[in-house]
Chain length 102, copies 2
């Protein structure tokens, strides 16, 4: 169920490379550290709960969406991929992904 | 010169709250930690140099653009602000900002 939703997001996004579910305490340590820092910063700066983070590098774009206190989903796109579509699909499917997690 | 460019970006972006130049070793420690982690992650994951990071929280949107190895610029917008316009102006003015830094 979960993996089907993720597949749908990747297939629906032109240039989509892959999407993964990740936990702050899971194996994807690199991203988890980044997001922990951002969460901490959002608390310090009193900006409200972090909802989405996106990163553009020379080779890839990554959109990360918070699902729960423990889990987030990350979508990787080619540099030329449809960033707006990926963001939209992650936002649209967030509720379904949360449901599939429960 | 630098401050004029930043003012132009904020004024040109509907919902723009402010824009600041920041150094990784400067005073804005919170963001600097976030970006250091992202830089490190980009290196580990071999995704190429980090160019832009954006963060959506409940109350604000922040777009951060790398200028040099030491400096970046951060634009804060209201939640309902024109995110795409802000991204575009930061990208368009990046070369001018770098020149003003030198």
């Amino acid at each position: 169920m979960f993996s089907e939703i993720l597949e749908g997001i990747v297939e629906g996004t032109s240039g989509g490379v892959g999407a993964v579910l990740m936990g702050y305490d899971g194996i994807a340590v690199e991203y988890a550290n980044v997001l922990k820092e951002i969460k901490k910063t959002a608390e310090i700066l009193n900006t409200g709960i972090m909802q989405e983070v996106s990163i553009q590098t020379e080779r890839f774009q990554v959109v990360i969406r918070t699902l729960t206190d423990e889990y987030f989903v990350a979508l990787t796109l080619e540099r030329t991929g449809n960033f707006g579509k990926g963001r939209y699909l992650l936002m649209r499917e967030a509720a379904n992904l949360k449901e599939a997690l429960a």
